[in-house]
């Protein structure tokens, strides 16, 4: 078969994969207001962004929310992964299945079910409701990341520690935790990114008291295309890229 055909196809698809993202980044540095003409290099949209008080507040709110959601999900996720890995018990398959169901089911269904519950128990929509919702969709990803790490774990290590007289607690601290640490970090970074990027669930469970960045971007995009959004999108993109590359790097490095 001709060699150029697959190569051309591949090149074309990869170009299409990157065009929308590259265009967004390039136009965020565009002096001109239009979306098609180049008016010279400029940081004015970034400046406009950081001079906007409400925007900066939303940015901090988002970062704080992502930080707390990622931390809570990582703590619960680590405990869960350890339990699922170390113990055999009835209903274990069911729990594993639930993780996949939650990951696969449509976001909007998760969102409306949580909203329905929050309103039932009279929870004020704001930071707490957002945190609970974000933990809900982050947790399965963290558990699965940590479990994947544990499944490649040499079972003889904890046994050896126990044979040498270590208590369960000592064994966990000195053997298990160091082994799953990279997965914990990777899971945390993944959770952070998921939380920072979420729009759909947040739309439903946020209140006016706690504005977050993705929702601001979303409402700006819906109303019309403003050049500030390019800058904001680029910032969000760079943030996600750095976080996820870091998480992959940690995982790959730890495998050696």
């Amino acid at each position: 078969m001709t060699r150029w055909l697959p190569r051309t196809y591949l090149t074309l698809v990869y170009i299409l994969l990157y065009v929308p993202i590259v265009v967004l980044v390039v136009f965020s540095f565009n002096e001109s207001r239009t979306g098609y003409a180049w008016g010279g290099l400029s940081l004015r949209w970034y400046e406009a962004l950081f001079n906007n008080r409400a925007m900066v507040t939303a940015m901090w709110n988002s970062l704080w929310l992502a930080l707390s959601a990622a931390t809570v999900s990582t703590v619960i996720g680590a405990l869960t992964a350890l339990a699922l890995h170390r113990y055999r018990f009835r209903g274990k398959k069911l729990l594993n299945g639930m993780l996949f169901v939650v990951m696969m089911s449509p976001e909007i269904v998760l969102a409306i079910s949580l909203l329905a519950l929050f309103l039932l128990v009279g929870l004020q929509l704001g930071y707490v409701s957002l945190l609970l919702a974000h933990v809900t969709f982050c947790l399965p990803f963290v558990v699965i990341t940590v479990m994947a790490r544990l499944s490649g774990f040499d079972e003889s290590l904890p046994e050896a520690a126990r044979d040498l007289g270590a208590s369960d607690f000592t064994m966990t601290r000195t053997v298990l935790i160091p082994v799953i640490m990279p997965a914990l970090l990777a899971g945390w970074l993944l959770g952070f990114t998921l939380s920072l990027d979420d729009v759909v669930v947040s739309t439903f469970v946020s209140g006016p008291s706690y504005e977050i960045l993705p929702l601001r971007i979303y409402s700006m995009v819906r109303v019309g295309l403003k050049p500030e959004v390019n800058a904001l999108g680029t910032l969000l993109l760079v943030f996600s890229l750095v976080m996820l590359m870091l998480s992959q790097w940690i995982l790959v490095r730890s495998k050696r």
Binding site: L10, V199, G233
Partner: protein, 286 residues
């Protein structure tokens, strides 16, 4: 003694997770189910009934939107498979050593951007005052600005783009494990490209194909941002109706019923797909 200690530590480890499942997954879904069986008789009285579900089948707007969303999602899934298969084949079978890893990573990176950012990138390209439109005019292929956003083609472009990675990954995984001798044997026995693909490659890759299709289909059917932003006000996506009922009309009972229906109908479609392809969920999802 030993076993009771380990029971205790199991419970300690698992309690937060069980609380999460019960309080933030099961209870909310039960509450959604309960609300969906409520009927508003006057502004402050509610009664039990199936009215919200009846509405779905009697008001053609609801079920037509669902059918439309379902058909478009199936088409999107199929298109994603067709586009992704050659890429996965190249990464898994043709690329060697370093370039294999680089190609795979290069495929992954765009998906680290959020759906909102990716969709917005496409909007910059496709809108009336966007890049593609101005290029068409510069080339003399169009007289005035061309609006390429806010139609079904734009929605499908966005959805295929969002789903691509989730198709490529399982395909690469299954194709990677395929024995080169199988393909060679196929050719030696006189099979053409088509026959080898149909009789050997596709059956081998079936678990990957089915798992990719399920994930892409569920993702597409349940997506909200892409259809709304790229399809405009008239994109008539099913998730949009749920949003409208909940947020715009405050008709929670109807919205909850539509949510329950989305869950049930999507599960049924996935189940049918598994039956038709002769795969089991356990095998497909590993």
């Amino acid at each position: 003694m030993r076993s009771s200690v380990s029971r205790l530590s199991l419970w300690l480890l698992l309690t937060p997770f069980l609380l999460w499942i019960v309080l933030l997954v099961l209870l909310p879904h039960l509450q959604m189910l309960r609300v969906s069986f409520l009927v508003r008789e006057s502004w402050d009285t509610l009664a039990w009934g199936f009215e919200q579900y009846q509405n779905f089948f009697t008001e053609s707007y609801y079920w037509r939107t669902f059918v439309r969303t379902g058909v478009m999602s199936l088409f999107t899934t199929f298109l994603t498979l067709i586009i992704a298969f050659p890429i996965a084949w190249y990464i898994a079978r043709l690329a060697r050593g370093r370039s294999k890893g680089i190609l795979f990573l290069a495929c992954l990176i765009p998906f680290w951007a959020s759906e909102l950012v990716r969709t917005y990138g496409w909007m910059i390209l496709l809108r009336e005052s966007g890049l593609f439109s101005s290029w068409l005019q510069a080339l003399g292929w169009a007289d005035g600005p061309v609006e390429m956003l806010y139609n079904d083609v734009a929605v499908i472009i966005g959805l295929v783009y969002n789903g691509l990675l989730f198709m490529v990954v399982p395909l690469v995984t299954t194709l990677d494990g395929m024995d080169e001798n199988l393909v060679e044997a196929g050719y030696d026995l006189g099979g053409g490209h088509g026959t080898v693909l149909r009789e050997i490659v596709v059956p081998w890759a079936m678990p990957g194909i089915v798992s990719g299709c399920i994930v892409v289909f569920m993702l597409t059917l349940g997506s909200y941002l892409t259809p709304v932003l790229m399809g405009g006000k008239d994109s008539a996506w099913f998730t949009e109706q749920i949003f409208t009922q909940f947020i715009t009309r405050f008709n929670w009972e109807q919205g909850a019923a539509l949510g329950v229906l989305l869950l049930i109908l999507s599960s049924v479609i996935v189940w049918l797909g598994l039956k038709i392809s002769g795969q089991s969920l356990r095998k497909v999802m590993g």
